[in-house]
């Protein structure tokens, strides 16, 4: 178990800045997810923490000790890779045993033939066997111990990779998109398993993914990384509800948040698509964007915005209505919880949203505070008047 501190971390590859000053403290026993679009530097950060890659500047602290120059294995962190990185020539048992053998056997004892003859090795092997079998039991892969990775399904491989990480009882686990090679169904299932594992082990988990749903559902905190910088760190619900940057707002949540072109009027009111909203902001006048999550868009005659239905996505349990509106280059998406009552494609439709649903961002993408003027009493009044 470990507290991990990242201080002013920079990393450049061939002159290109990949990490531009990352600061983050990860609490002992915490499950934190690093999310961000592909290429934003998540893996690089994780590899620097693991010691697989040297940083250009900045420091990594593990449990209060500077990890600089400490070898990956000496940091006693475990890592689970996207491709699992199982040794294809070793059986599941041997795969899981590798870190133990490396730690507990001397170089001589590891020798193919000579080693086998040494009694000390035989003793060590016995305890290794116990440990591996215990972990295999825990992950329910005991019947697979004799197989080669090539004979396993994706989910089983995934578990073996986790087993190899658990068996050494590391101070923290690093996961680099461990589920992205699995199909959708299995991914959802493994998600729950990993969360379960964290609750069981109570060790620090650092989990890298570009799938925001994964990050949201599993972790205590998520750190959104974009372009080599941590833009926002916080609890999933906070990040979802209270994004500080339009990139965070757009990255978190599927379907994407609806962004309406808008502006701050000189009297502090917001105006979107030509309609003045029931929301004010202390920010200076100028261009801005007003964003509303699909589940906060309300369809019906009372809405003052209007458009035509261009596409419907009925998932059975819920549905999304795509509405093409004048002045928008992407359709507005609205969630409908009861798919039995959907408009027809091509139908004209009105929609609106509550002023509380508004998240506004200035021209540079920074969040602007908004408030609903107090004179409005009705709790669910449409934002658009």
């Amino acid at each position: 178990m470990a507290e991990i501190g990242i201080r002013a971390l920079h990393k450049a590859f061939d002159g290109a800045d990949v990490l531009k000053g990352v600061d983050l403290t990860i609490e002992d026993g915490e499950f934190i997810s690093l999310v961000g679009p592909s290429g934003c530097g998540k893996s690089t950060l994780l590899r620097i923490i693991a010691g697989l890659e040297p940083q250009s500047s900045g420091e990594i602290w593990i449990d209060g000790a500077n990890a600089d120059g400490v070898r990956p294995s000496a940091r006693n962190l475990a890592m689970v890779f996207q491709s699992y990185a199982l040794y294809p020539h070793l059986s599941v048992f041997d795969n899981i045993a590798v870190p133990l053998r490396m730690k507990r056997l001397s170089a001589l004892e590891r020798m193919p033939l000579i080693g086998r003859l040494m009694p000390s090795r035989r003793r060590a092997e016995r305890t290794i066997r116990e440990d591996v079998e215990r972990v295999a039991g825990q992950l329910e892969i005991s019947p697979l111990l004799k197989r080669k990775p090539g004979q396993l399904s994706g989910g089983q491989r995934q578990r073996v990779a986790v087993g190899r990480a658990i068996v050494r009882q590391p101070r923290a686990f690093l996961f680099d998109e461990p589920l992205s090679n699995l199909d959708a169904k299995l991914r959802v299932h493994m998600r729950a398993e990993i969360a379960q594992l964290h609750r069981q082990l109570k060790t620090t988990f650092i989990y890298v993914t570009h799938d925001q749903a994964e990050a949201m559902t599993m972790s205590g905190r998520i750190a959104v990384m974009i372009g080599g910088e941590l833009i926002q760190v916080g609890a999933p619900a906070a990040v979802y509800d209270d994004p500080q940057d339009i990139r965070v707002a757009e990255f978190i949540g599927t379907p994407k948040i609806n962004a309406f072109p808008a502006r701050v009027r000189s009297d502090g009111r917001l105006e979107a698509l030509g309609h003045v909203l029931h929301a004010t902001t202390p920010s200076p006048a100028g261009e801005c964007r007003v964003c509303v999550r699909p589940e906060r868009i309300e369809l019906g005659a009372s809405g003052l915005l209007s458009g035509t239905v261009v596409h419907l996505e009925n998932l059975g349990s819920e549905a999304f209505v795509h509405i093409g509106s004048a002045g928008m280059n992407a359709p507005v998406v609205a969630r409908v919880n009861d798919p039995s009552q959907l408009p027809a494609i091509g139908a004209a439709i009105s929609y609106g949203f509550a002023p509380e649903a508004i998240r506004a961002f200035d021209a540079s993408g920074k969040r602007i505070a908004t408030s609903v003027p107090s004179r409005i009493e009705r709790p669910r009044e449409m934002a658009i008047v």
């Binding site: 070898r71 990956p72 294995s73 996207q82 990185a85 294809p88 020539h89 730690k103 080669k148 050494r168």
Partner: protein, 316 residues
């Protein structure tokens, strides 16, 4: 002669040969196309390789001498004579010795060089080129250079030895060293070839396996080699060993140019025996018999090896 070079993991396919019966007409068109596409190759193969090979087998049962107006069938007496001939056994022994030295040597060096080249970024393509140079250079020309380098009196090798205060040696004229000198040249020539194959193999080892090994505590380069590189290279190694063995069994040019099998047959190898009997002594029938035995021998070795090798490479 690299045409004759190859990999034989696939010969193992032979025992597995199952004729698949095709279903339905739909593919009939496509399998017709398949025959049409393969036909030129198969016809040429029959004409230029298998047919002549059958000819050689037939020839080995005659007393034909090149240029002679007639010949007669003499059954297996060529084989009898061959098995009674001291030269044949020496030749077989030398061939095996050559293979036993050159294959491990060239494979180990090829691997070593490939690992060294791949372990850093600098000057890779320069090294690759330099080490590959001997593979490309006309062997007959290089053999002459080697002959000159090994010259007892004016050769570079003895010159350097003398400069170091050591006794020179008649490398190619001495029974004790002729074969080994050829082995050295063989290794010199084959290392680059193996290096390229190993490089290709190394490149295709997934990088994250090394990361995993490092995390797992394989701290030294040696333990990472043992944990990842060597097992992952196993299929390539098998291929390289097969190719090196086939090439070594077929060693001919250097023997022909440098020692002519001498002195006193100390560097006589099978292909060269076949050549001298068939082309220098004009005993075509006998030469053909040597060829047949050579082929049977190489074939059985490859089959054996691929059967053994198949057990190794079972992971995806």
């Amino acid at each position: 002669m690299s045409d004759a070079v190859a990999a034989l993991q696939e010969v193992a396919a032979a025992p597995r040969m199952r004729a698949r019966i095709l279903v339905k007409s739909g593919t009939a068109g496509r399998s017709g196309a398949a025959y049409a596409l393969a036909a030129p190759a198969l016809i040429l193969m029959l004409m230029m390789l298998l047919g002549p090979l059958a000819g050689v087998i037939a020839l080995s049962l005659t007393d034909y001498q090149l240029g002679a107006p007639s010949f007669s069938w003499i059954g297996l007496s060529n084989y009898q004579e061959m098995f009674a001939d001291r030269v044949f056994w020496i030749s077989l022994k030398n061939t095996l010795a050559y293979v036993a030295i050159v294959v491990p040597g060239a494979v180990a060096l090829g691997l070593g060089v490939a690992l060294l080249i791949q372990s850093g970024a600098g000057l890779r393509s320069l090294y690759r080129t330099v080490y590959f140079l001997p593979v490309m250079a006309t062997l007959i020309a290089m053999a002459i250079v080697w002959e000159f380098m090994l010259h007892p009196q004016f050769g570079l090798v003895n010159g350097l030895l003398r400069a170091a205060g050591l006794q020179g040696h008649s490398w190619l004229q001495d029974r004790g060293t002729a074969l080994y000198s050829l082995c050295v040249i063989g290794i010199w020539q084959a290392t680059g070839f193996n290096m390229v194959l190993f490089l290709a193999g190394l490149v295709s080892i997934p990088k994250h396996l090394y990361d995993a090994a490092e995390i797992d505590g394989a701290e030294s380069a040696w333990s990472r080699f043992g944990l990842v590189t060597w097992p992952m290279l196993a299929p390539v190694t098998l291929f390289v060993v097969a190719i090196s063995a086939i090439r070594s069994f077929q060693v001919f040019d250097t023997v022909q140019v440098l020692t002519k099998g001498g002195p006193s047959k100390s560097s006589e190898v099978l292909i060269y025996t076949m050549y001298t009997e068939g082309f220098e002594f004009f005993r075509s029938g006998y030469g053909a018999a040597v060829t047949v035995v050579f082929l049977a021998f190489v074939l059985s070795l490859t089959l054996l090896k691929s059967v053994l090798g198949r057990r190794e490479v079972h992971y995806a």
